[in-house]
């Protein structure tokens, strides 16, 4: 087995162990804390004459709960710290995996994009031909919504919520690939727009419903280019 592969397996095993320890710690914390609180409440609320068990037994339960809580708490904090340390140590491979996931998601967006186009364009045709009602407007707007979202994702705009992941995602090479992909998408969209304009000179309504197809096509060309460049870079190490 190659060294990077062994490292990766060691990382997975280590993370798995630490996750299990963290989970056990949290469970222990919940159990012992519950025990301590329940024992304490019975001691405090129920009068001594009506206690179901001797007071000393309840005191032992509370003490056990308190000690268990302290130990579980320490174990949980320790496991959590180890998990973070592990992730930081292997952040490069973690970032690679994350980037790969996002690239796949970018390509997968072609499916909803196609679905919204297929459902929205007949409605857009109705509207452009002077018919249509509220439902048609909604469907027509949705047909352009997904391609715009993918385009903005490709350009890394509106991904503020990804702040925590950003340090794993945007290295110099990815930024360069992004720009190359967007350049190609621009050329594709300019070509599509020119063609649509010429079509529109003869048939304006037909040109209007071609616009979402042009945007979706150009965005997908850009996404595909980006994913291919990233894959090539990954292959070349």
């Amino acid at each position: 087995m190659s060294e990077p592969e062994e490292d990766r397996l060691a990382m997975i095993r280590s993370e798995h162990d630490r996750q299990r320890r963290f989970l056990l710690g949290v469970l222990g914390l919940a159990l012992f804390l519950g025990l301590a609180i329940a024992g304490g409440l019975i001691l405090l609320i129920v009068p001594a004459s009506e206690q179901p068990v001797p007071v000393w037994a309840l005191a032992v339960v509370v003490l056990t709960g308190a000690i268990g809580t302290a130990i579980s708490g320490y174990a949980t904090v320790r496991a959590r710290a180890d998990l973070i340390t592990d992730r930081l140590r292997f952040s490069e491979s973690y970032g690679d995996g994350l980037q790969r996931q996002r690239n796949h998601a970018l390509l997968f967006m072609a499916v909803p994009m196609a679905l919204f186009l297929v459902s929205g364009l007949p409605q857009a045709w109705k509207l452009a031909s002077g018919q249509g009602e509220t439902f048609n407007w909604i469907a027509a707007y949705l047909s352009i919504f997904v391609p715009i979202t993918v385009g903005l994702t490709l350009a890394e705009i509106g991904t503020g919520k990804m702040g925590r992941m950003k340090r794993h995602l945007d290295d110099e090479m990815t930024k360069l690939h992004r720009k190359q992909a967007l350049s190609l998408a621009f050329v594709a969209m300019l070509a599509g727009a020119t063609g649509t304009y010429f079509l529109g000179l003869h048939h304006p309504a037909a040109a209007v419903i071609v616009i979402p197809i042009v945007i979706a096509g150009a965005v997908q060309v850009g996404a595909l280019r980006f994913v291919l460049l990233e894959r090539e870079a990954e292959r070349n190490g």
Binding site: A124, I157, I211, P212
Partner: protein, 116 residues
């Protein structure tokens, strides 16, 4: 004017020629920025460096966003009045090309200013 006459169904050959010229003009600037013009092809080894590629990428990325926004606007207008969308096409195409050219010139100018 030529486009509005064509859209109204009153265009002649001259109008069609004018209308065809508009988007072709919009192509000149991006082609120059991409270095696909004749001069750019001939002097590629002198013109192409890391910085040029970086400026090109940034300018075209902005152009992509402007063009996508413009096309989306045309679509929304076109659902209401298709003729208006066609009239807006030359504006969007030349506008996006202009943004690409200006952004590239601006970045290049800044880099030159930094060199001095």
């Amino acid at each position: 004017m030529a486009v509005s006459r064509i859209v109204a169904g009153e265009g002649d050959t001259g109008d069609f020629l004018w209308a065809a010229l508009l988007p072709l003009c919009a192509w000149i600037v991006p082609l120059m920025v991409l270095g696909w013009d004749r001069e750019g092809q001939r002097d590629r080894k002198w013109l192409e460096d890391e910085l040029t590629r970086e400026w090109r990428g940034r300018a075209l990325s902005l152009g992509f966003l402007v063009l996508m926004a413009g096309m989306s606007g045309l679509y929304l207008v076109g659902l209401y009045r298709p003729e208006w969308a066609i009239l807006g096409f030359p504006v969007v195409l030349t506008g996006a090309a202009g943004v690409v050219g200006l952004r590239y010139a601006w970045l290049d100018g800044q880099a030159e200013g930094g060199d001095e």
